[in-house]
Symmetry: D2
Subunit: 345 residues, 4 copies
């Protein structure tokens, strides 16, 4: 049994970790912390967990966390950065669901997150936890930076094109759409049902924190600089991200082998599903599941490759991918605890 | 491994059975029938099942079904009634999710369902599959009539009051609300997103097919005739039923022991959760789960008991309860395949 | 041109007043106040008003308000109570959309609103502004207490029955459902889209502030005490209230004349629409409009009258009814500015 | 009073025309046809129109339509094409909301709409009714082809860039999202609430009928061929389109004058609103209104211009624009009947 600690468990990522771990056969949640809600049973905040956990939120306590095998951070940025060194020293392994260890260029990190990075050595040592790219490194890692939700959907969709050098890497466009749970669970007027129900809009169109993370990942795949435009949008639903990706094929003739290329690239991946050419993945087809589902499109008179890629932002985009990383780190079946089909309808 | 057949699997109840059975350790779906979609892989219709089932819909074939241990009917009314006798003769056990075997008074059945009942002997033998009332009979049954969605939420909410004779049985009111999946998956203009999104209404307020089923169940609990008014409403969401129940307490003093009574009545029930007095159960707290969650309320200057009861109409109100019945019938742990927490948010 | 002031204009009721008044031919908004947003153009907060208003929110200023012909209060309770006397003294007329002047029994008011009433004399003088009951008094009133949203839907639905003494007044049940805009526009976690989307629940089931207001109105209609149980629910939509009302008919024979009674009662009312017997009013049929639409139902073997009554909580339940009251107070056509059909779909 | 006929009034475009015309001071609907619903009062199908229209749907009758001043076609493609010549001969003016007269290249039309065009001479004479481009021609036109919903949002967003030749016309991308009402009101399983609620997906990504219409309009603005990729998506809401447009600026220095250029281009347009640079238009800000609202964005290290453009697909994208065209054709104030602010929240 892997002994699990969760730091910062009151948000949607926290409850999603609990939901998944509640039926994971090899993991047991030993503590879940929240300064603001210390003492409250988790099932009082999240009634879907009634009968599944007796646990209450507790004040974060290094000594307690140090007795865990694995600690998940589901905190705002800036928290894991400060707590990680002590846990590392204690030999605890960490999967950080926040943004603290995702970027290697800490000047870029500081600019987008509005504070200097305090543990640059761990930022360099951290493994960016996209299993489809870094499975072997994850297996060995003590510290895994769990990818952001948008970056997961966008990178998985673009990877085969960039790895094979088939498209112009300076002209990538990622038009992404997310349900409201991506904004977390805070008393933000802009996220009221009355504000976002029955409406659709872009946000962060002049620049969003996930842009440098996307750029970093795509540059690695392309082995060189990329030019990517990323515009997120808010969808009046709770869960789900769809990213529609546009790239210019250098050789139009290559269209014929794209489908095979994608299928081949992801054949062995348990959580990436390439649908038939011309399909339209729906976010509901991954609701509650750890899949990334994608399909390719081409329009007449055009050499633009179109990829539509969907995930559940709280699962493959956060808690599910974190558990997938845990499974890899601890040598378990990678799909353990993540086998149930998505909830449709 | 229990060999499972599903008749009429293209609707929401069918896909929900598949979703649950996909990870049930003791059951294996051997065939799923649909006349209209014969030949189509189930994963083509329901992409959440990609990777979970290789099965395609097939024409219903008695010989194939006869080799199953258990057949679920997820068909419109009138179908199971005709196919059941042959399966019974073959020794197959059946859980019918349609309305064919729910009512004992076949004149009432004929009136509400617009056709004479063709297998009255089986209508009498069928066990009404509400485990909280009839667990022992279900265990022995060859034919189980799986309760309707509204009747499940309403009966479980009223049962303790009626069994103990604490309220006026002639003045029961059940104001119930359901998400849109309850209407099934047919090309019905009235169920378009454009018609029911951002709107709320009553329907069937002058009489709904679940009224006689509710009346039958409540009469059994009250051991006498009951007067019940039942008004269903359509909520602009997909899953979930909430029933707000009103009854007049005969002795106001009894208010003090109601909470204890409910907790006692359902203490051993794995799928009924009585929340603290004055709580407000949310349908999302049971989304995708097999729970019925309920709470009691009292208003000042009043002897009206208020019960709010929620279920997922596709799970405890249909497919989940059917699998619960299967577990009971085959001597399995009653919660097998039904242990995952609900999907919240 | 009626010169209008609005106190507390940043909430949903405020923007709704502006939306309606933007095209009202006889009224001109001279000032709109908000302490927290003073200086911000209203069109910056509410982009639907771009091009309609040059106005900015301003600090409340008695001198400015005193120059208006009519001041609307769209404030939390406790504000109008304190500001009204000065405006009354200045001869300004007021429509208060808050709860400050709705109840005549100020002990009850103090209990439900958690503070003593500070201007009891004006609480007595205020006219409860339900035009279908008090049109003549409204015409003369200097101070109108605009009814609450639930009380509007519930009272209009019950009135004909109580005025005619046809039902048992001690056994009234009002099961009401509202969209999320009824909770206003505050940073309340419980009203996030992530919390209430795709979910349904009761709230305030043990007692809600609109209960004494409903009781007061129904008692006046019944000319005697009434017993009413009122349970509100939250619907995952933005606008709309549906109330399903239950009452026991004293004489079952009276069913035959109920429809005619309702039609007669509301024949001359421009904003009450009695649909044919057995209809199901939808909230979308009144979205953005000032109508209350209702229909009657009866179930077999029952002497319970069922009334389903719908309004837009922000229009007939708040800003629209306030403008209707203004029209009456100033001798205008009662439908002025309120003629557009509801927005469907 | 302009005498109005509507052919094919049972869909969402039909009811929207009626909603707008109900309070238009200069127009009177004389007949509205529907073969399938002939005899049914329009208010029975659309209860928001109760009290506004006594009209019933009628069989289409050329003699009756010939007595109208203006006939709107709100029909599937192929219908207006056949009926228009007779109305033209009778001197009636027509605004066709279907696709029959939008394309000038009838081979392209035939390919996308699956039938040969039967009245090519009228296809050539028809004026494409985008007032911001063709106001003078519309004024004189006997036959106006009302633009499609996506093409309206996309063209208005791209026009200033193309007219000024500031961007590479071969690399235009339009990622567009629409509410469900765009699919009309038919018994289509794919448009059930249970299918599209709480989900998001692309559709028509390999080619959509609005692509050639967009290409035609943008080519005219660019005075030369354009390369445009257009991907529509389905949003779980009823009304609204948002289009996020991407184009490469030829001279990065031109960014500084883009905002002024857009403001200048649309300064005199009553229904186009250019928001401040970096704003995020919401579809709800135009719900029920005839506006197109847009804003510009730029990301660091990029010469991609991003435009976010929103409309209500049923208003500026259909019925509202049709009434705007009517106003122009008949010399009325162009905003007549279209002045009310959008419904927010």
């Amino acid at each position: 049994m892997i002994k699990i600690g969760i730091v910062g468990g009151t948000g949607y990522t926290g409850v999603e970790l609990l939901r998944i771990l509640a039926v994971h056969p090899d993991a047991e949640v030993k503590c879940i912390t929240s300064r603001s809600e210390a003492g409250m049973p988790v099932a009082d905040m999240y009634p879907n967990l009634r009968g599944h956990f007796d646990l209450a939120f507790s004040e974060p306590d290094s000594a307690v966390l140090a007795q865990c095998d694995l600690v998940f951070f589901a905190t705002p940025h800036g928290v894991a950065m400060r707590m990680v060194p002590e846990l590392m020293a204690a030999g605890v392994r960490v999967v950080d669901l926040s943004a603290d260890f995702r970027l290697k260029d800490l000047d870029v990190w500081a600019k987008w997150y509005g504070m200097p990075h305090e543990t640059p050595e761990w930022a360099q040592k951290a493994v960016y936890g996209l299993p489809e790219v870094a499975r072997d490194a994850i297996r060995q890692a003590q510290l895994v930076a769990n990818p952001g939700c948008y970056p997961t959907a966008v990178q998985l969709g673009f990877l085969p094109l960039l790895e094979q050098g088939l498209v112009d890497p300076t002209r990538l466009i990622a038009d992404a759409k997310s349900g409201a749970s991506g904004a977390g669970r805070q008393g933000n007027i802009g996220m009221l049902h009355g504000e976002i129900g029955e409406s659709f809009k872009a946000y962060g169109a002049s620049g969003h924190r996930h842009l440098p993370e996307i750029r970093q990942g795509l540059s690695l795949a392309a082995t060189g600089p990329v030019g990517v435009t990323f515009v997120p949008h808010l969808v009046p639903m709770i869960r789900g991200i769809e990213a529609t990706l546009y790239a210019e094929l250098s050789e139009p003739a290559d269209f014929d082998r794209l489908q095979a290329l994608y299928e081949e690239r992801y054949r062995a991946e348990p959580f990436v599903d390439v649908m038939p050419f011309g399909s339209h993945p729906e976010t509901r087809s991954v609701r509650g599941g750890n899949q990334c589902r994608m399909a390719l499109h081409r329009q007449e008179q055009s050499n633009v490759v179109i990829v539509s890629s969907v995930i559940d932002n709280l699962v493959k985009g956060a808690a599910g991918q974190a558990v997938q990383n845990m499974n890899i780190m601890f040598g378990l079946d990678e799909t353990q605890g993540l086998k149930a089909p998505a909830l449709l309808p």
